[in-house]
């Protein structure tokens, strides 16, 4: 599923490499907890995985494709088709309805749209279904995003990540704004949704207490050979 070999990444204009990962492997369907305190190069790694940035050397094989070999446009397309993302918070576009936020990614990815269509649903139906599966009452769908609670917003963001069944879900601190009960419930929902079609989850957090719920625990400070200043 995901295989990183001898990855070196340096931000333009910097002499020291930010990332130096000799080896990282994630199997398909695995639920991985990546522990990354701030300053550990976490954002950089996520940028590389999602294809926004390009490694200086080494390879990132995702679903059998080496992202380092793809053009900028091809990496963008690859991300749109195969990766769903959930951010820390403020995930949603405030001017779109919850449903529109959920289906947003499908407008940039034909293959995800087609996968939705293959299930016999329209985008909106699929979005509503996902929101329901994630425990959101249909009544909130008519509401403005700004009127939703943080927890509700995160579930809308999760629905957006899952729509069109992308193989990899990257969740970047999605629970840091939630309290402990909601945190666990949210992660359970992610797992439930991912298990429906065997998606891989890469869950990034600085909060190691959550690690127990996952199949695999990785620490960025262990796998990254660059000496961190913090």
């Amino acid at each position: 599923m995901l295989e990183i070999n001898d990855l070196i990444f340096r931000w333009p204009g910097q002499t020291d490499a930010t990332l130096n990962i000799p080896k990282l492997e994630v199997a398909a369907g695995e639920r991985v907890f990546l522990h990354g305190p701030s300053g550990s190069g976490k954002s950089t790694l996520l940028g590389l995985l999602s294809g926004v940035n390009k490694p200086e050397s080494g390879s990132i094989r995702l679903l059998g494709k080496d992202l380092a070999q793809l053009s900028d446009a091809a990496r963008d397309k690859f991300r749109a088709d195969h990766i769903g993302t959930i951010f820390q918070n403020f995930n949603l576009l405030p001017y779109l309805s919850p449903i529109e936020n959920v289906t947003l990614g499908c407008h940039f990815s034909r293959s995800r749209t087609e996968r939705v269509k293959a299930s016999g649903n329209t985008l909106t139906q699929q979005g509503e279904q996902l929101l329901q599966q994630l425990g959101l009452d249909p009544s909130i769908m008519a509401r403005s995003v700004a009127q939703l609670s943080i927890g509700q917003q995160q579930r809308v963001a999760a629905a957006r990540a899952f729509i069109g069944q992308p193989e990899l879900i990257i969740a970047d601190e999605p629970t840091s704004a939630l309290d402990a009960d909601n945190r666990n419930a949210f992660i359970e929902l992610l797992f439930k949704e991912a298990s429906q079609y065997g998606a891989t989850i890469l869950f990034v957090s600085h909060d190691s207490s959550l690690a127990a719920m996952f199949d695999k625990y990785l620490s960025l400070s262990d796998i990254n050979e660059v000496v961190q200043c913090s």
Partner: protein, 498 residues
């Protein structure tokens, strides 16, 4: 969801700043279009005031002064052309027609123009259009008056109504020729030229107006009213008259002569005018009619058949005359001849040439106006640029979210630039709407105050081109924030930096 929909929704989310920007652009577009439309219409109504006239002849003054006084009724022609010279030039070879014009009087602020029937036959405006009657007919005797369309509509005059023409310009003439009411027999169709604001009377009526009340009223057969006039009134009248016209001869004497001439004139011209009955008889008919029906009551205009009277009288002088030649090839030669006319100093101008000359003088003003409105548009577009750039930083999260769901940098670029295009387009659309609203509002004032007829017509090619230039400029402006957003989205990626 298309990017445009996304852009629209995003803009709606920031409607306060977007609407302000949009209004700025709309107002500037309205300003530009209005100024340009007024400029164009002014120019065309300007050059449409007179056409088909080869030469305008007046006393020697400036070209433009003669044009202004004879065509636009602006300013006074201080000197005049003697009737003899007019007759002489008119009879010269190659002259097809001539229209005498006598100006200087007014009716409630409207210029009074004394002329003869040639006016209705030969005067052309616009694209060589003849004057047309909206109602009634041309005058056929000295007690009849034909109104320009605007005079009629503004004063609510109707056919058959009697009006009094005063002497001198302006609303408050010191004395009115109360003894000389004239019947409205015709109302001209609108022309969009000073003709609309003109009261047309026969030359003979001008003459009658300026003569002593006694003789005047006798001439038009109204002894009753003349008797009512006191002697002092008469004196005063004479005095004014003498001053204004610089007559040195005694008025009484002159008019007595005139009157005699008048009678004789009728007989002399009997054939020419095709009159079969005596002049006096005509007038008594007319007089009775006038007294039976007082002012303001509209009556039907009497059929002209038996009312034909003398239109010209025996004028000493006229203000100017318009001439048409048999062939335009004669124009320069005729003009030279008139300018070298021996009997009195005359000036002949070619109206087209002088109109252009006059417009060129106004050209600087019009260019400055255009420049200003152009700058206003530029400022409004720069305002949009400022707003877009200022909000861009706050929108980096929005851009990052879009990136994370798969938007390519070029999508971000399109999104940002389409926003500028949408704002500019909406601004233009609103500006055009405001422009039409403004025209609809200002139409009346412009027509009555400046004689510029603004038509609520579709945008001309030129105006569409202006809109096109604004759209292009707006699009170009949009490229700057779009490019910045493009590079933000490249460097920020999906990480959200706040």
């Amino acid at each position: 969801m298309q990017l445009i929909t996304l852009a629209t929704k995003s803009m709606f989310n920031r409607k306060a700043s977007v609407l302000l920007t949009l209004f700025t652009i709309a107002i500037s577009v309205m300003l530009l279009l209005t100024i340009e439309r007024v400029r164009q219409e002014a120019k065309s109504s300007f050059s449409n005031t007179v056409s088909g006239t080869d030469l305008i002849v007046g006393a020697r003054s400036g070209d433009i002064q003669l044009l202004l006084s004879s065509v636009f009724r602006i300013g006074h022609a201080n000197n005049s052309v003697s009737w003899d010279s007019y007759q002489d030039i008119k009879s010269q070879r190659g002259v097809s027609w001539a229209i005498p014009i006598s100006l200087g009087d007014s009716h409630k602020g409207h210029a009074v123009l004394g002329t003869d029937s040639a006016y209705f036959e030969h005067f052309r405006y616009g694209k060589k259009q003849n004057l047309a009657f909206a109602a009634g007919r041309a005058f056929v005797n000295a007690q009849e008056v034909v109104l320009g369309s605007e005079v009629a509509s503004k004063m609510h005059y109707q056919l058959g109504q009697q009006i009094v023409i005063s002497h001198g310009m302006g609303n408050t003439s010191f004395h009115h020729h109360d003894d000389n009411p004239m019947t409205i027999v015709g109302i001209l169709a609108p022309t969009g030229t000073p003709v609309d604001k003109t009261v047309h009377v026969p030359l003979a009526a001008i003459e009658a107006m300026h003569s002593q009340p006694k003789s005047a009223s006798r001439m038009i057969g109204k002894p009753k009213q003349s008797a009512a006039h006191s002697h002092s009134d008469t004196d005063e009248h004479d005095q004014n008259h003498t001053d204004e016209h610089g007559h040195n001869d005694s008025h009484d004497h002159e008019h007595a002569n005139e009157h005699k001439h008048n009678d004789g004139h009728d007989h002399d011209h009997a054939d020419e005018h095709g009159h079969n009955h005596s002049h006096d008889h005509d007038h008594s008919d007319e007089h009775d009619h006038g007294h039976d029906k007082p002012d303001t009551v509209a009556v039907t205009v009497p059929a002209p058949a038996h009312l034909h009277g003398d239109l010209i009288g025996e004028p000493k002088q006229i203000t100017a005359f318009l001439m048409g030649l048999d062939s335009p090839l004669y124009t320069l030669q005729t003009r030279r001849n008139i300018n070298n006319y021996k009997a009195e100093p005359l000036l002949a101008i070619m109206p087209g040439v002088t109109l252009r000359e006059l417009w060129r003088m106004l050209g600087l003003v019009e260019k400055i106006l255009l420049l200003f409105s152009g700058v206003v548009v530029l400022i409004s577009l720069l305002g949009m640029l400022t707003t877009l750039l200022a909000t861009l930083n706050q929108r980096r999260r929005e851009l990052a979210i879009l990136r994370s769901v798969g938007a390519r940098p070029r999508h971000i670029f399109t999104l940002m630039s389409s926003e500028a295009i949408l704002i500019t387009a909406a601004g233009c659309a609103l500006g055009i709407a405001l422009f039409y609203a403004l025209i609809a509002l200002a139409q009346g004032t412009l027509q009555s105050q400046f004689g510029i007829s603004l038509s609520i017509s579709l945008l001309s090619h030129y105006e569409l081109m202006l809109i096109g230039v604004i759209m292009a400029a707006g699009t170009l402006m949009g490229i700057l924030p779009a490019t910045r957003a493009y590079f933000y989205s490249l460097s920020d990626g999906m990480s959200i930096k706040l």
